[in-house]
Amino acid sequence: MGTMQNADRHSQSVKLDSPLSLDCGKQLEGVEIAYASHGALNADKSNAILICHALTGDQYVASDHPVTGKPGWWTRMVGPGKPIDTDRYHVICANVLGSCMGSTGPASICPVTGKPYAMDFPVITIADMVRAQAMLLDHLGIDRLHAVVGGSMGGMQVLSWVAQYPARVSAAAVIASTSRHSAQNIAFHEVGRQAIMADPNWQGGEYYDDGGAAPSAGLAVARMAAHITYLSEAGLTEKFGRRLQDRDAKTFGFDADFQIESYLRHQGINFVERFDANSYLYITRAMDYFDLSEAHGGLLAQAFAGTSTRFCLISFNTDWLYPTAESRTILQALHAAGADASFVELESPFGHDAFLLENAEMEAIMRGFLNGGRVV
């Protein structure tokens, strides 16, 4: 491959050389960032695409998950010949700061105490996650990204990337996302956090020691509540309706009589196997604190002032978590800033989750957007 660096590394980890300065005012020492990469980086390091994952996502975007054994979370989109084509692009996906798949988070060992941070982990923000990613790219010697792409919380990171490092991003794709968390968004997250903290196993976050049990019941409930927000009412009706689960009649009890109950319980149980409850607290907090206009005098357009980045915004008509109006708000700010911005609302019955599922239009748009950059 000559000067090309090879290539698919399903997960590796970098320890950042310098402390990470956080929005809360604290510094985090010895931060580790776990990441995966696919496709070769070209000689002038100009073909890198950073993919930012959602709340409970991870770096396993296009390779099997080591805990669940399931395929990567965006294999429809990322791979050889796929819309984000690893034959053309060097794709990087890093586990976010605060998460639990190899990057530093509340379950990591604090270098000062030698014990897990737990609730001594500082409260982080989306901007902090992006700062850590930028330091990872510094380490990799990648100055400018061909594109940053993300859905949901990944989209928030994409917007922050452009606002924080305008010169480092050629193109930005923001899918099913928002420029700020609404009261309703915060409300659902608070339900999840309270479920975790109400679990007696949570113990103020100090559940890592002596083989104690994790607050799995609370985390499962948090996941169940959140999962409802990822689906549409019509989609739930179509998939489950009022159908009963493996029985002919209601039991007049509190078993999972309905298919939807069984499905949600299953989602909750599977989730706790792969996710740390304290990470869930910290990352949902980061999302709730997200309001890109706040740091720009309340004017979202100011976040994009003078930008030369190309933007692609996609929303889904049945997404009520981050509805189309949120994407339109971003679009209007981009237009006011004179930015080159595309936007479309796609139809899907699948609600917010649509961005993770098969969607031929989304795939064609992503391919066109990434390949359509004018040669400067």
Partner: protein, 196 residues
């Protein structure tokens, strides 16, 4: 690849090289692509139909799904060299308000529309007594997107009332250009280049 319509050819021929252009009602981006390739223009599009927006985006064009009447207000003053509204004026709810936005956003604005006073349209209504259905106005009255039929003289009156400057006017009969003399009667199609 779809061919340019005759009015789009006139517009493409009169856009300066390297201009910044907004094409409103851009469809799947045929004119945008021509302007980008032949004129090295920096072109953005707006289109109301999401399937057409998706098709344009899939071709790598920058198109925002939007409604001219609602969404043009978000663009800054004079932020484009040209704003193009081709075969769309007669389909928007308030053509007069959209025209105000065109000349606010663009230093110049191309507007093209089918002329409802063309002799064939007049004859069709006069003789047949039914709403005309012609090559350029192919829909029936009940399913036409053209909710504000307009004539060349109507449009001239509107731009006079608004005090707009005319930098160019072109008229088409069939697919060929025709004189401006009896345009209101003879032109099937008109293209105006305006400024505030």
């Amino acid at each position: 690849m779809t061919q340019l319509r005759p009015d789009q050819k006139i517009i493409a021929a009169h856009v300066a090289d390297g201009a910044r252009v907004l094409d409103i009602g851009c469809g799947s981006g045929v004119l945008m692509q021509e302007l980008a390739e032949a004129r090295s223009a920096d072109v953005l599009g707006m289109e109301i139909n999401p399937a057409k927006v998706a098709a344009a985006m899939a071709r790598g064009l920058s198109v925002a799904q939007g409604d001219a009447l609602k969404d043009l207000v978000h663009y800054p003053d004079q932020s484009f060299d040209y704003v193009i509204l081709s075969q769309t004026l007669q389909a928007v709810k308030r053509p007069d308000l959209v025209l105000d936005e065109l000349v606010r956003i663009g230093r110049q604005a191309f507007v093209s529309f089918p002329n409802f006073a063309h002799w064939r349209v007049r004859l069709s209504l006069l003789v047949g007594g039914r709403m005309p259905v012609t090559r350029l106005i192919p829909e029936q009255w009940y399913d036409t997107p053209n909710i504000h039929h307009v004539t060349v003289d109507d449009f001239r009156a509107l731009i006079r009332d608004k005090g707009l400057q005319q930098d160019g006017q072109w008229f088409l009969s069939g697919d060929t250009q025709t004189g401006r003399g009896a345009a209101n009667l003879m032109a099937e199609h008109a293209v105006f280049l305006l400024r505030r």
